[in-house]
Structure formats: C-alpha cells, structure tokens
C-alpha cells in the first residue's frame, strides 16, 4: 500500500488538490492498479530497446516559414479572466 505521504507528494507534482477524505481511497486504488501492473517486473527485458512510438516517422521537419496564427482576441476568448490583452491569473506569491 502506498503511503499517505507518497500520495500527497505525487498530488503536489500533479498540481492536484486532494481533500482529506480523498487521500486514503486514492492510496488504495493506486496500490491495486500498481500491484497489477507490477507483473511486467517478472519479464526478462534485458537488452530490449524501449518503444515510444510504433510508426517510423522520418523527414517530419518542415520549412520554418511564418504563417498566420490565431488573432490575440480569439486566443483570449475562452479564458476565465483576461486583462490588458493577456491571461489574468492570481499572483504566484500571495
């Protein structure tokens, strides 16, 4: 079972608030899944290269040419808060 401190550490890394009553169930559920996936630890994978992508893509580079992008006001349209043509957020050091 994953320790409570570890759950809180991972939640901090994931930028996810957890309520007190959510910590214990999260630890239990993560542990159950991790126990299951731990089965891949039984395989001999020495000298097996990792695969991050199944399809070989070569020559994906393109010419770096400027082209039109979203107008500023369109890009800001869906934001919860804007100010002076930018995204408005609370101060990082309140």
């Amino acid at each position: 079972m994953i320790a409570r401190e570890e759950v809180l550490h991972v939640a901090r890394l994931a930028r996810l608030a957890l309520r007190e009553e959510e910590i214990e169930p999260m630890a239990a559920e993560l542990s159950a899944v991790l126990d299951h996936v731990a089965k891949i630890g039984e395989l001999d994978l020495e000298d097996v290269p990792p695969t991050s992508h199944v399809v070989e893509v070569t020559g994906a580079l393109r010419a770096d040419e400027p082209r039109p992008c979203l107008p500023r006001e369109v890009a800001l349209q869906a934001a919860p808060a804007v100010s002076d043509g930018g995204f408005l957020v609370p101060s990082p050091q309140a």
């Binding site: 996810l16 608030a17 991790l34 919860p80």
Partner: protein, 479 residues
C-alpha cells in the same frame, strides 16, 4: 421517400441516393436532426448520447463526394464555435476557435456536423459512466452501458439516431463500444489519421476512426479521413486509396487465433459466438491456424503505465488559465491550479493523472515507464512475427457483453479488464476492426479482426465477407 426509409439507409446508400438526386441533403439532415433532438429532450427516457445537436445544416458543397451524409462527432474533437469539452467539467463552456483536421476533412467531403456525442471524460473509461454529461444508455438494454469511451457515438449509430459517427480509440475506445452496441468500429493504423484538434489523452496511442452500421460505411468514412496533415507531425500519407470492400469469400486467407486472447477471462457466451465466427470463416475458405502473441497477457499492464503517463503530461494544460473553468476564491496561483484541477476533473481522470505522475516520478521511472516501453517493443515484435505466419488475427473484441450500469464503477481494475483484447493492437499500432458476430443473452458480441500496418483495404474485405456470412441483424436496437 418517407422519414423511416431515409433513416434506414446506410451511409453508402444515402450518399448514392444523394448523388442520384433521389433524396436531398436538407431532408436527410432534418430527419436525423429531429431524431437527435428528440433523444436529447427525452431525458431519462433517452439514451443521452448527444451533448449538442445542430439547429440547421451547415451550408455544404452539393458536389462533394459524400453529398451531405450527416456526421455525429465525439465531444473531444474540436469543432469551431461548437461546445467541445471531452466529457469533462474542466472544459465547461469551451467553444474552440478551430476544428480538428479530420472533422474539417469530412465536412469538406460532404459529411456535415449533425451532433456532438457523449463520451467518458478525456476518453478514459470503458462504460461511458465517467462523463460530466452523465452516462449513456445502451439501446439494446437501457439498464446497461454502451461501452466506452466512444459510448455516445456507438449508441447513436446503433439506435439509428445518426447515420455514422466519429470516435477515437486509445486502448479500445472505438472497438469495445462498437462491440457492446452491435455495430462496426475501426481503429486505423496509428498515424493514418491526423490527431490535430483531438483533445489529447495518450498521444502515442490516440487514433480517430469510424463507428458505422456496416463495414462498407466504415470504408467510406475512412477514405475521407486518412492522409498526412502538416499540423500533425506523426501523421503519414496512407500508401493507397481506401476502396469499398466487396469480397464475399475468404479463399487463401490465413487467419490466426491467439490462445492468449481467446480463453481465460472471456465469458462463455462471447467465446461461443467467437467459435461460430471461426466456423463461418472456414466455410468461406479461410485457413484457421493457432498463432502466438506471447506477451499479450502483459499488454494491459504496460498500457496502464504508458497511457496514464502520457495523460498526466497531456492534461497538465488544464489549469484554469486559458480555457474552461477556474475554481473561485483562490488568491494564489498554485492554489488556483490545484483547486481548479480538483474541482474540474472527475475521479477516473484524477486516478490516471496520479498513476501517470507516480510512474514518471523520480525513482520509479525505470521500474514502470521504462519497463512498459520495453514490453511494448515485445508486443510489436509478437505481431510482426504472427503476421509472417498469418494474414489476420481474430479475437473477441471484449471479454463480456454489455454490463449493467454501475456494475464496475467501484472497481477500476475490473473496468480496465474490458480492454484486455483490444490493448495489444493499440500498443503495436496495427489496425483492428470490430464487427458484430452474434448475440449472447440477447446482447451483441463483437469479433475483432486485426491486420498488419496499412492493411486496411484487405482488412475491410475480410470483415465484409464475414459480415455477409454472419448476417447479424441490428434492427431491434433502432429507436
């Protein structure tokens, strides 16, 4: 033509009737729009498969090849000016300023947007119960799930509320709901369809594909989906045009049956429909052989490391700054992020973000993510080896038929096991289609057919021949 007759047309038949001038795009659109609207207004009595329905048909090009066959689109595809929330509260009210490439491509080909469909939040789920819009009901039995994550798309097509629908598949999210709803669902070769404008879940696995009433419809939609897109660097030029399948026999076709995916864990009713399908294949002239996918039993474990890892990274963008909702009252930036994500994400999405963050965190990376990537290599090698011996691989699509709403929500692992037969193909990046192959206890069973990368034309031919021989009748699910 009466509304009933219009709604009975397959997408291929509708596009032919449109081309011949026998029906008009406007009357076809209106017939479906009225149906979709009625389902939305029916509340608890409806299927809850739509999240948005068009009010009027967009102006289309009459000369476009499809001629105006309306399309239902999974919520996670960005559609310009039309709500696109990926089934999540965190994107509440989001109307994207642009459309996904594949949606634009299909619209240009003559498949105008009819409706957006319900789904599991960020495509994470196998029952469509993880949705901010509430669960979708299965048209075969409204007390049961339609599968997921493309559950709204599958239910809409099965019920005849849309001629066809667009879905996405990461570990089975097109094939499994297609199986549970008794329709056809195709996950194309990874890279053949642009992912631009699809709200990302796990980028190395996500792939768009058709959910349709029959195999020919799937081929017709796929024809207008594939192709390289400069906006998605992982998209590829499909090596040939997609043809409408016409094969009726399977002479000379070698079919492989992997013991790893056709025994333990699959319920008896599903296995017996599967065995019947193999018998039909033999009668059509196919040679049925045993084939090994030795690492397939480990695919689910690898998948539930890799997909959450990619999701934890992809979903970092939802922070209450640029789009969607923001938690009220936070007076400090970090608190605003963490509370927005707490309030905006549902339980399954939080679990996967936590799981993925854990697997990528310092000290665990090699044991989880690194190993899972190596398992992925072995699985891809297994498929390459198998396809040296056989042309296609057949398995059941899902281990069970549609289960009751609420039955598996308390146990994430039990829910994950739904993907047992579909995840190996996703990790290998190969194309796979699910076609309905019979009933078990009055509920549809799906047959999965997988082929080598870019074998879609031959895969569709095999699926077509089997579909004809199996003669599955989905009429009783129509609303």
């Amino acid at each position: 033509m009466s509304a009933g007759e219009l709604l009975g047309l397959s997408a291929v038949a509708a596009s032919e009737s449109l081309a011949a001038g026998a029906i008009s795009a406007a009357e076809l659109f209106e017939a479906y729009r009225a149906r979709a609207d009625a389902d939305r207004d029916a509340g608890e009595q409806g299927l809850n498969c739509f999240t948005w329905v068009a009010e009027e048909p967009p102006a289309g090009d009459r000369q476009a090849p499809l001629g105006g066959v309306p399309l239902a689109v999974k919520d996670l595809f960005c559609t310009e000016g039309v709500p696109s929330q990926s089934g999540s509260r965190i994107l509440e009210g989001y109307r994207p300023p642009y459309s996904a490439s594949v949606v634009s491509r299909l619209a240009a080909a003559g498949a105008p947007l009819l409706a957006k469909t319900n789904q599991d939040e960020f495509a994470m789920g196998s029952s469509n119960e993880n949705s901010a819009y509430g669960p979708v009901r299965n048209p075969w039995d409204r007390g049961r799930v339609p599968g997921g994550s493309s559950g709204g798309s599958a239910a809409a097509v099965a019920a005849g509320l849309a001629p066809w629908a667009l879905g996405t598949d990461t570990g089975g999210s097109i094939r499994q709901p297609a199986a549970l709803c008794g329709i056809v669902g195709l996950k194309p070769t990874y890279g053949s369809v642009s992912r631009y404008g699809m709200i990302a879940f796990a980028s190395s696995l996500d792939q768009a594909g058709p959910l349709t009433r029959d195999v020919r419809d799937a081929a017709l939609m796929l024809r207008h989906m594939v192709g390289r897109d400069p906006c998605d660097a992982t998209s590829l030029q499909f090596p040939h045009a997609i043809e409408l399948p016409s094969a009726e026999g399977l002479a000379g076709v070698r079919i492989g049956v992997p013991a790893e995916l056709t025994g333990e864990g699959i319920e008896e009713g599903v296995l017996s429909a599967f065995r019947e399908s193999l018998q039909r294949a033999r009668e059509l002239g196919a040679e049925v052989l045993d084939v090994a996918l030795a690492h397939a039993p480990h695919a689910l474990s690898a998948y539930y490391v890799l997909a959450p890892a990619e999701c934890s990274s992809n979903l970092a963008r939802f922070d209450g700054v640029r789009y969607g909702m923001r938690a009220e009252g936070a007076d400090e930036l970090l608190e605003m992020y963490t509370r927005t994500r707490h309030d905006g994400f549902g339980p399954e999405v939080k679990r996967r973000i936590m799981l993925g963050t854990y697997a990528l965190s310092s000290g665990y990376y090699d044991a989880y993510y690194g190993r899972a990537q190596r398992v992925r290599t072995k699985i891809a090698e297994d498929f390459r080896g198998a396809f040296e011996q056989v042309d296609f691989i057949l398995t059941p699509t899902a281990p069970t038929v549609a289960f009751a709403l609420g039955e598996k929500t308390a146990d994430p692992l039990a829910m994950y096991l739904n993907d047992y037969c579909t995840v190996p193909m996703s990790l290998a990046g190969v194309p796979a289609i699910s076609i309905p192959c019979g009933l078990s206890g009055g509920l549809p069973v799906g047959l999965q057919i997988a082929g080598p990368a870019f074998s879609e034309n031959r895969l569709l031919d095999v699926a077509h021949a089997l579909e004809l021989a199996l003669g599955f009748d989905g009429a009783s699910a129509r609303v």
